[in-house]
């Protein structure tokens, strides 16, 4: 009933093969499935917030539209473009690793990292704008509690003031910003983790650790990066775009 299983022993002596795997193929498969499972987890994690968003948007449509209109759509759009390009360079990095071209691989990883950091920088600018407009919800920052100025009818237009559509109230605008900061903050945290992972990849890549047989770390981080990108693709329209027609016709 028992046969000794010697087929794979001693054949694959790749230095990156961990002792408990039979071969590189099994190791790569485990890593990839592991990342997919992890991403499922992530979807559920963001899912809770998307549910909260959907619920309160349907409760308070006018307030959510008013608050959404106050977001800086230009910065948001630029950031969307930055992320999409970074996903492209990440995909290229995976490709160059698979075919074993080290130089373009290093360049693409570096580009991805730079684009990721650019996104975070723009996000920081946006957050700062919200801070100066007193839009950080609650007492999250004790010295600057929530309390934006409200645009009155007939006053000169001031983009630091929140324009409340009919039916909108400030507490509900605060709710929007609470969800906005929870979702984009969680997304930014994922970006920071992604940037950290990319830094490691870059170092290993410069050292020439990856080859066509061992490229799964790049592939796996790539999966993660695309996921974080896709989350933003959902966040941008939901937070920035939906409800603009109330204001802009």
């Amino acid at each position: 009933m028992i046969e000794s299983h010697a087929t794979t022993e001693g054949i694959h002596g790749h230095p990156a093969l961990q002792h408990h795997f039979e071969n590189m193929e099994q190791q790569r498969e485990a890593g990839t499935i592991g990342m997919w499972v992890f991403l499922v987890t992530e979807i559920m994690f963001f899912g809770g917030m998307f549910l909260a968003y959907a619920l309160y948007r349907s409760y308070y449509p006018a307030s959510f539209a008013s608050a959404s209109n106050h977001l800086d759509i230009t910065l948001g759009a630029v950031n969307t473009a930055v992320l999409i390009v970074s996903s492209f360079t990440m995909a290229l990095a995976v490709y160059f690793t698979q075919v074993g071209k080290q130089r373009p691989q290093v360049i693409c990883l570096a580009l991805t990292l730079v684009l990721g950091l650019t996104f975070l920088g723009i996000k920081a600018v946006e957050y700062h704008d919200k801070y100066t407009d007193h839009l950080i919800p609650g007492r999250l920052i004790p010295s600057a509690p929530f309390g934006p100025a409200v645009q009155e009818e007939g006053q000169p237009l001031d983009h630091h003031k929140v324009h409340l559509l009919p039916g909108a109230t400030l507490p509900q605008v605060e709710m929007f910003y609470w969800i906005y900061f929870a979702m984009t903050g969680m997304h930014a945290l994922h970006m920071i983790i992604g940037a950290g992972l990319l830094t490691f990849l870059l170092i290993y890549s410069i050292k020439g650790r990856f080859d066509p047989e061992y490229h799964s770390p790049v592939e796996i981080v790539g999966l993660y990066w695309h996921f974080v990108d896709i989350v933003w693709i959902f966040l941008f329209p939901l937070l920035y775009l939906l409800g603009r027609h109330f204001e802009h016709g």
Binding site: I2, Q18, G34, V37, T41, G48, L55, Q172
Partner: protein
């Protein structure tokens, strides 16, 4: 065929995973799934005794109706902490993190889990979550109930809600990582010949459990995170005073916490499938039905959370849908019970301790499951929800179900884990004591609940006293019964009889290697040519590698 070890006086293997390396560091930095399982075993036992201590305090307080043993604030903390410790730090990790961790690689013929480092990380994450929670308990405790209902938890409670929430949040990642590791391992690490339908049912139930862990846990993680931020910052999506919806919290919370019940009981069902088959030496009746019923429970389990909200201002129609689905989820459980019973037909049943636990499980789970139907049934639930009927019901599932399975599994695999046998006589005695004590504790609570005794009451009308006295008497017996295994397991580690590689004479892969196993489990990767539960005479159940005979055919 030559005779194998079990006919001889067992000789302990010279090198095994326990003595392969020495020193604290070799344990704290181990990547061996078996050692990590033992780390988990130690830590969950620690938490179990803390939780048990709280249970004892609850039962002592409720001995008299006046609530004279402790202040109501203390009592509120005690039952809250009993729930939090027992659920998040004992029951959820209990079987998966110990028995699952130890056995999944062995049962599929792998050297380790797919991600040994993540496995170790999950234990540390568990530990950090546990330490933060213990800190919260020592600093002053938490009094929200383990359910953390808003707006009480966000606005009105003056206890350590944020610290406890943080502990649970962190602990959740341990659960996610364990689930992820199991899924990937079962997908990619099976030995040649170990097809999906040759897997022991223990693995199917752990696969289903892992699905719940990875799908449900993140939702409760984000929910608790939002709750904690809400408490700190004074904004709130759960706070009605700020325009939030307190019932949203209940939806999100139960979306995880109802499936979490299946995290606790599914692995136990897997253990019981093993025990029933192996101790009656009979393949499981309707293997594929039992296997798929685990997956069905995992999937349906996500669709029934609303039955916790029948009286919580949910709409009538939502209530009806959730009631319907809750009845539907009962069916796979019923299928399991019928199949286990049918397995015994024309079998060869031994009365060893693990089998006693398995029979106890089936008996108690039948009651627990059937009383679940009372709660799924809308009109009766309106009357009994938030009463002791509910308390009795879920203890029948969690203690009568999950705990019985855990203890049964621990006895069954103890020879493999430690290399030594536990004392059989004491084992049977304690199994009976636990069974009797358990029933005496929780049967009266069904009656008290239907009579209307609300749960989480520190003092209660005197007419309920008789039930509480019975409960407390039962709990003392139960507690005593739990101490016996704790003592003899420790005793047996040094003085128990050597078990040999296959003391029960069984065909599973975990029994085809030495006890305790070597660090890499098998000398060579096994090739599986037999079905699950294909029982054979002892001389045909061979040990993999140098302990067994050389293969005759290639």
């Amino acid at each position: 065929m030559q005779p194998i070890e079990s006919f001889e006086v067992p000789v302990p293997p010279k090198v095994n995973y326990i003595n392969a390396k020495y020193g604290l560091k070799s344990w704290l930095l181990t990547k061996d799934h078996k050692r990590i399982a033992l780390l988990y075993l130690g830590s969950i036992t620690f938490f179990f005794f803390i939780g048990g201590l709280y249970a004892l305090m609850i039962r002592l307080e409720l001995l008299t109706p006046q609530g004279d043993l402790m202040e109501s604030t203390t009592y509120n903390k005690v039952f809250t902490q009993h729930g939090i410790i027992m659920i998040f730090f004992f029951l959820i990790p209990s079987i998966p993190a110990t028995l699952g961790n130890f056995l999944i690689p062995m049962m599929i013929g792998a050297k380790d889990l797919a991600f040994p480092r993540i496995n170790l990380l999950s234990w540390y994450v568990y530990l950090i979550g546990g330490i933060i929670t213990i800190y919260a308990l020592l600093a002053g405790g938490v009094d929200t109930g383990w359910t953390f209902y808003t707006p009480f938890s966000t606005t009105f409670s003056n206890s350590y809600v944020v610290a406890t929430g943080l502990g649970i949040f962190i602990n959740g990642f341990s659960s996610i990582l364990t689930g992820l590791n199991f899924i990937v391992t079962i997908h990619t690490m099976r030995a040649p010949g170990m097809t999906w339908f040759r897997m022991p049912l223990f693995l199917w139930s752990h696969y289903a459990t892992s699905l719940i862990m990875i799908l449900g846990t993140p939702v409760v993680a984000i929910t608790i995170l939002l709750l904690a931020f809400e408490r700190v910052s004074g904004v709130g999506i759960f706070n009605p005073a700020l325009g939030g919806d307190p019932v949203l919290f209940q939806h999100l919370f139960w979306f995880y916490s109802h499936p979490a019940v299946y995290i606790m009981v599914l692995p136990s069902m897997g253990v019981v499938s093993e025990l029933v088959a192996n101790f009656s030496r009979k393949n499981i009746f309707g293997y594929s039905f039992v296997a798929f019923s685990s997956l069905a429970i995992a999937v349906f389990g996500f669709l029934v959370w609303g039955h916790h909200l029948f009286v919580a201002s949910q709409s009538v129609y939502a209530g009806m849908i959730f009631s319907f689905l809750s009845f539907a989820v009962a069916i796979p459980s019923a299928i399991k019970v019928f199949n286990w019973t049918a397995t015994l037909y024309k079998s060869s049943i031994s009365y060893d301790t693990p089998m006693l636990y398995a029979l106890g499980f089936i008996g108690l789970f039948t009651i627990g499951g059937m009383t679940g139907l009372f709660l799924a049934s809308l009109a009766v639930d309106v009357h009994v929800s938030d009463t002791y009927f509910v308390v009795a019901h879920f203890h029948y599932i969690m203690v009568g179900g999950a705990m019985m399975g855990y203890l049964g599994g621990l006895h069954y695999w103890w020879p493999k884990i430690s290399g030594r046998m536990y004392p059989e006589g004491w084992g049977r005695f304690s199994a009976l004591v636990i069974f009797v004590g358990f029933n005496l504790t929780f049967l009266p609570q069904f009656v008290a609940g239907y009579l209307g005794m609300p749960r989480r009451y520190h003092a209660y009308p005197p007419e309920f006293q008789v039930f509480n006295v019975l409960s407390t008497a039962g709990a003392s017996i139960l507690g005593f019964g739990m101490l016996i295994p704790a003592i003899y397991f420790v005793w047996s580690m040094r003085y128990g009889r050597h078990a040999g590689s296959n003391p029960w004479n069984l065909p599973g892969l975990e029994w085809r290697t030495q006890s305790p196993p070597p660090t890499e489990n098998f000398e060579v990767t096994p090739i599986v040519t037999w079905e699950a539960y294909e029982f054979a005479p002892p001389e045909e159940t061979e040990v993999v590698g140098k302990f067994g005979p050389e293969p005759e055919r290639i």
